[in-house]
């Protein structure tokens, strides 16, 4: 019974933890401009993140080595160092976007200016990192993030023409008013949002935090294979809400209030309040994960002591790195840069960095010295290779598309 409960908890937190500010913004923007015609990208992205997150979790559970230790060991100090600089920069951008997301959501709820919320949000994130037990942190944020189910409820309350939504999705038919380059630009952004590298750093290091061993492999698989696809459904619901309400009205999403507009229209104040709590929890959870990831990547590359399960004094440089990352994120936001714009940048640059993270994981998952009998099977390797091609294509295409479309405008 206890085991079933633990499994259910793991799945629920995976659902709530899947959606972050990147998924929220990108899905709403895409829904409002392209209808349901990019849903296939969410499906591709979810399968990809399932594949690589479970692989990273398996590598760590079996070998005890987290992802960036492996990247350093396999690529050597130079290539891994370049990888670290890129990953850290993108991670910082994502962290900035998430803190901005918390501030925007609290602004919606309170109408206190976001810039007053930013330092509060940053401090709250740090306090949780400093004090709270890893499991409690993960479960609370994940479970409250489930309130984003409000988007799915809103979709049903809106009573859309389901046949029309399906027609937009299969086969994908983008509206004729949009340029194909913009369509592909947002396809890459959506892919980057679904497969953001921090999820893998966090997932593999989290396996160490929770002291996983080879015995926990089945739990790992169930959490990922059930939780992430359900989280992907939430993403699709967000896009569908935008497609039903914002697309016909010709509203292009540029603020959080527009993202939640369909929810307010369908479910009134009560549903809106629940969804806002969900957004705060989801972005707060993701801010924790990205802040931790910034510490994980640096500490693992340099071999420092790391982990939330240790006393802060026993992982001093790890905690110092996270404090510096948080201060940088808050500092960037206080220049009154638009958090939504930061989010859009972060998902595109995530797409650029994808191969740096995913190639070494695939290599090590095939190394019997690390994995023993738990090396990748043929099916996983075939899928992994296919995804490697997709990931490289998306990474190479991202910047040219960004320039060609003027960042999608």
């Amino acid at each position: 019974m206890k085991k079933v409960f633990a499994a259910a908890l793991g799945i629920l937190t995976a659902i709530g933890g899947f959606v972050d500010i990147g998924d929220l913004v990108t899905n709403a923007v895409v829904g409002s401009r392209f209808g349901m015609s990019l849903v296939w990208v969410v499906v591709v992205g979810v399968v990809g993140i399932c594949l690589f997150a479970s692989m990273a979790g398996r590598v760590t559970a079996v070998s005890g080595r987290a992802t960036f230790e492996i990247i350093r060991e396999r690529l050597g100090p130079r290539a891994a160092g370049a990888n670290l600089v890129a990953s850290f920069a993108i991670n910082l951008l994502t962290l900035t976007a998430e803190i901005g997301g918390i501030a925007l959501a609290l602004h919606l709820a309170s109408s206190v200016e976001p810039r007053l919320w930013i330092p509060v949000a940053g401090l709250a994130v740090w306090l949780v990192l400093w004090r709270v037990k890893f499991q409690i942190m993960e479960n609370v944020a994940g479970l409250m993030g489930l309130l984003l189910v409000g988007f799915a409820v809103a979709l049903f309350l809106l009573g859309p023409d389901w046949g029309e939504l399906l027609r937009q999705a299969v086969p994908p038919s983008p509206p004729g008013t949009e340029h194909p380059a913009s369509y592909w630009y947002y396809a890459v952004a959506l892919f980057g949002a679904a497969m953001t590298p921090y999820e893998v750093f966090f997932f593999s290091s989290g396996a160490v935090e929770e002291r996983w061993t080879a015995k926990d492999l089945s739990t790992n698989r169930v959490n990922v294979l059930v939780g992430f696809p359900l989280g992907g459904l939430l993403s699709v619901a967000i896009a569908a809400c935008a497609a039903v309400v914002l697309l016909p009205a010709g509203i292009e999403v540029s603020s959080l209030s527009q993202i939640v507009l369909p929810v307010a229209q369908a479910g009134g104040v009560l549903l809106l309040a629940l969804v806002i709590v969900g957004i705060v929890a989801a972005t707060f959870g993701a801010a924790l994960e990205t802040a931790l990831s910034s510490g994980y990547t640096v500490a693992q590359y340099l071999g420092w002591s790391w982990g939330k399960f240790r006393r802060p004094a026993r992982a001093a440089r790890f905690h110092l790195t996270m404090i510096v990352a948080l201060l940088l994120g808050v500092g960037i936001l206080m220049t009154s840069v638009d958090p939504i714009a930061v989010t859009e940048m972060s998902v595109v640059f995530s797409a650029v960095a994808l191969p740096l993270t995913y190639v070494p994981i695939l290599v090590v998952a095939n190394d019997p010295e690390y994995m023993g009998e738990h090396v990748n099977g043929r099916v996983v390797n075939a899928l992994g290779t296919v995804y490697l091609v997709i990931v490289v294509v998306a990474a190479v295409a991202a910047i040219p598309l960004m320039i060609a479309t003027g960042a999608g405008s």
Binding site: E73, G303, R311, P312, R314, L320
Partner: protein, 126 residues
């Protein structure tokens, strides 16, 4: 598993591996190795040599950008302190007594321990 002498490739199995102390706490990465000749002098190409120490910290800079720092300036972990070689290099001593880990000790004592809650055990009840 094979028994008897085990062949270890220094590049493949030592460089850039994680170093753990006797309690499993990460200490550093193997940034470079100090090789010594049979008589304890500096190792020369073509002669027999053994690993005398693991170099950490500034050794990473010379690995990244080339060049040589004076060996006396390199924080080192004596090879005699190494207990076991697996997917990580496991030491037989605690990190608290290692001079090579001085940066961690400095950050711990000067900064992190001074922030309230710095010694709080997150896994404990309170």
């Amino acid at each position: 598993m094979t028994h008897g002498p085990r062949i270890v490739d220094a590049r493949l199995h030592l460089l850039s591996r994680q170093v753990l102390d006797v309690d499993g706490e990460p200490v550093s990465t193997v940034d470079d190795l100090e090789l010594r000749g049979p008589d304890g002098s500096e190792a020369r190409a073509g002669q027999e040599a053994h690993v005398a120490a693991i170099l950490v910290g500034p050794a990473l800079v010379t690995r990244l950008f080339g060049g040589r720092a004076p060996t006396s300036r390199m924080p080192r972990i004596a090879w005699d302190d190494v207990g076991h070689l697996g997917t990580a290099v496991e030491l037989a001593v605690s990190s608290d007594g290692l001079d090579a880990d001085w940066v961690e000790h400095w950050v711990r004592e000067r900064l992190v321990e001074r922030i309230p809650g710095g010694r709080h055990d997150p896994e404990g009840d309170r």
